[in-house]
């Protein structure tokens, strides 16, 4: 048995598909879809990145253009930060469309992101967000099924398999030939992704390892489908049984399993609605006292401590503005409470994701989807990373302003400003201070971290493929047995 017979077999299968117009129709439709989504996604990612950069620049400029003010006014004026998308979001936007693109940062509050794209697009896209990853994960298997369902059962029904075997072709070779023909189709479907990935690496926008993992994961996933299609096609009694069984498999593994897994995760680890938690946060914050009011009883101990530290008897004798110190202290206490609730929520969300990932053993789609998202940096971990970075930035700029409140203002002016217009004027500090605030910057996790996070799922996918290959070896005999 030479390599020539294998090539012949592959070429024969391709010819057969062309004659049937099956592969032709399916592949024409699919390439159209893939190229369209790749271009649309590429264009959208570029526009979205430009849009966010522009808005960030606008927000920075607006912040710096504020006039001379009381520093606490700037705490309430706040700041907007925008998330720049990960470079690989072009291939796999992951959860990006479902998280907000900006966060409004202000004193005393830990806001959530506003305006997810998903909310603005109504029901047109509810099947999923169209991206190259979605097409390869969901639709390419569908096309492979249509093309490949009849590949072995067809040879058997038509009796051509017997002729081939009589001519000395081993069943293994037949499988290999059919698999090679199908797999070539699968690789063709992956081509737009490979091109975009290569472009990202060549332009230096992304390291090669995560790109290789995203592409390799999808390749393995498609290989798995090719093997499953061959197994079913070898076992099935007729073409229509093979097609029905495979499409049912597709509906269960690709459509149903992820949704059931999500419901299971939601049931296993309940995350209370944000509206509920916000009330609980408000209640917890109320016990801390009002940091706008230096006379609040909750700060009595703090006052004693500060007085002792500076060795004076009254707050009026302090070299710093006690109201600013209280604002700083209150912000720190408030942030501690809010962070406690926020990390509780993040922990619950990550637990939900963990339950979800466990279902990767049930559906290879979940394995490849999370492998790809983790490698691309568009998963929950990276989302939390952004939210935490924004919170750290918020806390830093608010505390810088509170420091100015304590050091650049006198207590007498600060106390009189609600009644005395001249004192109010003196509590306004120079606008130059706003420009001295550091700018926000955020980048996805380093490549090494992302690769490490996606490896376990790559392992699951690999085991899936191994199991399927073992099954294929088992059913080899079915073909001869006819």
């Amino acid at each position: 048995m030479s390599v020539d017979t294998l090539t012949l077999l592959v070429r024969g299968t391709w010819l057969e598909w062309r004659r049937d117009r099956v592969a032709f129709g399916a592949m024409a439709l699919l390439s159209l879809l893939l190229v369209t989504t790749a271009i649309v996604q590429f264009d959208e990612a570029r526009r979205e990145a430009a849009h966010r950069a522009e808005h960030q620049a606008e927000a920075d400029a607006a912040f710096e253009a504020q006039p001379d003010r009381h520093p606490h006014r700037m705490v309430h004026y706040g700041h907007y930060v925008f998330r720049t998308p990960a470079p690989l979001a072009v291939l796999d936007p992951g959860i990006d469309p479902y998280t907000g693109r900006s966060i409004f940062l202000e004193g005393h509050r830990r806001n959530t992101e506003t305006f997810a794209q998903a909310g603005e697009t109504s029901l047109l896209g509810r099947f999923g967000s169209f991206s190259p990853a979605f097409v390869v994960q969901t639709l390419v298997p569908l096309a492979l099924i249509l093309v490949g369902a009849g590949s072995i059962v067809g040879e058997r029904v038509r009796g051509t398999a017997l002729v081939l075997f009589a001519q000395g072709l081993a069943p293994g070779r037949l499988f290999l030939g059919k698999a090679a023909a199908l797999f070539l189709l699968a690789m063709a479907a992956l081509l737009p992704m490979v091109l975009v990935g290569a472009l990202l690496v060549m332009r230096g926008q992304e390291a090669w390892a995560p790109v290789a993992l995203v592409l390799g994961g999808h390749l393995l996933y498609l290989l798995l489908w090719v093997i499953c299609i061959l197994v079913v096609s070898a076992v099935a009694g007729s073409m229509r049984t093979a097609l029905s069984a495979l499409l049912v498999c597709w509906a269960l593994l690709v459509v149903l399993a992820p949704r059931l897994a999500a419901e299971a995760a939601a049931a296993a680890v309940p995350v209370p609605p944000r509206t509920h938690v916000d009330i609980e946060v408000a209640q917890a914050l109320r016990t801390l006292g009002d940091s706008h009011d230096a006379a609040d009883r909750n700060f009595d101990d703090f006052r004693q401590q500060v007085l002792a530290q500076y060795g004076v008897a009254r707050i009026e004798d302090l070299p710093v503005n006690f109201r600013g110190l209280v604002a700083e202290r209150g912000e720190a206490q408030g942030a501690e409470v809010m962070n406690r609730f926020a990390s509780e929520r993040q922990w619950r969300e990550r637990e939900q994701a963990r339950v979800l990932h466990r279902f990767a053993w049930l559906s290879p789609l979940l394995a490849v989807r999370h492998l790809s998202m983790a490698a691309a940096g568009t998963d929950l971990v990276n989302h939390h990373r952004f939210v935490d970075a924004a919170e750290a930035y918020r806390f830093d700029f608010v505390q810088r302003l509170n420091r100015l409140h304590a050091e650049a203002l006198t207590l007498a002016d600060d106390l009189a400003r609600s009644r005395d217009a001249q004192a109010e004027q003196r509590t306004r500090i120079s606008a130059e201070n706003w420009a001295r605030m550091p700018d926000f910057s955020f980048e996805v996790a380093p490549a090494v971290e992302r690769v490490r996070a996606s490896l376990p799922l790559a392992g699951v996918l690999f085991l899936w493929t191994l199991a399927a290959t073992a099954l294929l070896a088992l059913v080899r005999r079915r073909v001869v047995g006819l």
Partner: protein
């Protein structure tokens, strides 16, 4: 083929009873078709799962609103405990608003998983509050909800492709065609009964779980019937496309591919292309721009002379124009006046934002003519009060409620009435009525 023996005996009969007999015979064929049973069983499982999950979600939303309201009431009591002037009270009191799910929403969860159905508002500028999102875990949102509307829109058509594609070509490929048509006498009735039985089976495995769930959720019979009608119309539309396809003189696999291709085109590509078109023709107003504009207006007030803000406020509220002038650097009347002015500054943009959402929704309605999947989802969401229009109605109710809060507080603030805790019991409550 052994099945041909009874065929020749019954199909020639042209009476209604003959049609019934033909249907019964086709049903018994179907019952022995293992591939078809696999497809129907799977579809039934998917439909049952979707309505069960829908009922669970319905109960979850009801419970969440219940708890939200009790948390809110307790929190407001606690917040108002220490206050002793109107300004502080108005600042401290948050008020719950919500949109209860309709019984039918188990079948079409619609916009409720992406746009909030619970929101607390207070006397500050509304545009800074109303755009807040109550998002769940995005990793779960990524998968999308699995409701009956999804099953009907996306999965039922695939089941129909599988069940209908080879009704004709299978007979031809197994060489029985000539014999079958010759013995059947009335070929039209043969094919009609064969197709009808299969379409009816698909309808049954969807409508049965739907009917049970509708009864469990005590959906009003009228709404349930309309929803069933929408489901039926969707199945009929797909059947009208797929039956002629099944008569094409092509191989079964070619017909199946064409059927799935049609599905990809109508269920996925048309909505995708439509979204791109809508994006291009109806410019999206960024919600963040409204919040930004409102924030600038509110913050600028601190640096403007008080009289500028108050004059603007009195333009829309002339009844308070003759009240005592503001002279202190801080006065609650001025504080709430600039919140009102902030809302007014953002009003035009906010109006455009809602108009653009409504316009995009209208375009989606036009698109529905080209995609049965879009059409049936829209119909079910409309009946279940979970469509875009429903979120806009909720938005309008929040605005009306916020206006009623202002009507409550303004007289107390501007007439500078003496603080009287008893008045707080008269705070307007959010109307529970269905919109």
């Amino acid at each position: 083929m052994s099945t041909l023996v009874p065929l020749s005996a019954t199909v020639r009969d042209h009476s209604p009873a003959g049609l019934w007999a033909a249907l019964v015979r086709e049903a018994s064929f179907l019952a022995r078709d293992r591939a078809a049973l696999l497809v129907l069983g799977t579809l039934c499982l998917l439909a049952t799962t979707s309505v069960s999950l829908g009922l669970i979600e319905l109960a979850r939303q009801d419970a969440a609103i219940e708890r939200f309201r009790s948390l809110d009431a307790a929190d407001r009591r606690a917040a108002l405990e220490g206050v002793n002037d109107w300004g502080d009270a108005a600042y401290a009191a948050f008020h719950a608003t919500w949109q209860s799910p309709s019984p039918l929403s188990f079948a079409a969860l619609g916009q409720r998983d992406v746009s909030p159905y619970m929101l607390r508002v207070r006397m500050l500028a509304l545009e800074g509050q109303i755009h807040e999102a109550d998002t769940g875990n995005p990793e779960l949102a990524l998968t999308g909800r699995f409701d009956l509307a999804f099953v009907v829109a996306f999965l039922a058509p695939i089941a129909l492709v599988l069940l209908l594609h080879d009704v004709v070509s299978h007979e031809r490929e197994s060489g029985r065609m000539t014999l079958l048509v010759a013995t059947a006498g009335d070929a039209r009735r043969l094919w009609a009964s064969r197709f009808l039985v299969r379409i009816a089976a698909v309808t049954a495995v969807i409508l049965l779980p739907f009917g049970c769930a509708a009864m469990a959720a005590s959906v009003p019979p009228g709404a349930a019937l309309l929803a069933a009608g929408a489901i039926l119309a969707s199945i009929a539309a797909w059947s009208l496309l797929l039956v002629p396809l099944a008569f094409r003189p092509w191989a079964s696999t070619v017909i199946a591919t064409a059927g799935v291709g049609l599905w990809v085109l109508l269920a996925l590509l048309v909505p995708l292309a439509g979204r791109a078109l809508v994006d291009a023709s109806v410019p999206r107003v960024e919600g963040s721009d409204i919040a930004l504009l409102q924030r600038e207006a509110v913050n600028d007030a601190w640096d403007l002379p008080k009289s500028v803000t108050m004059e603007r406020f009195f333009e829309s509220h002339p009844q308070w124009a003759r009240t005592r002038p503001i002279d202190a650097p801080f006065d609650w009347r001025w504080y709430y006046a600039f919140q009102q002015v902030g809302d007014e500054a953002a009003a035009a943009l906010s109006q455009r934002y809602r108009a653009s959402i409504a316009a995009r929704d209208r375009w989606a309605g036009v698109l529905a003519w080209f995609s049965p999947s879009v059409a049936v989802q829209r119909a079910l969401q409309h009946l279940a009060n979970t469509d875009v229009a429903a979120t806009l109605r909720y938005d309008a109710r929040i605005r009306a409620y916020h206006a009623s809060l202002r009507r409550f507080w303004y007289p107390l603030l501007f007439e500078e009435q003496l603080f009287d805790r008893g008045q707080l019991d008269r705070l307007p409550e959010f109307a529970t009525g269905v919109d």
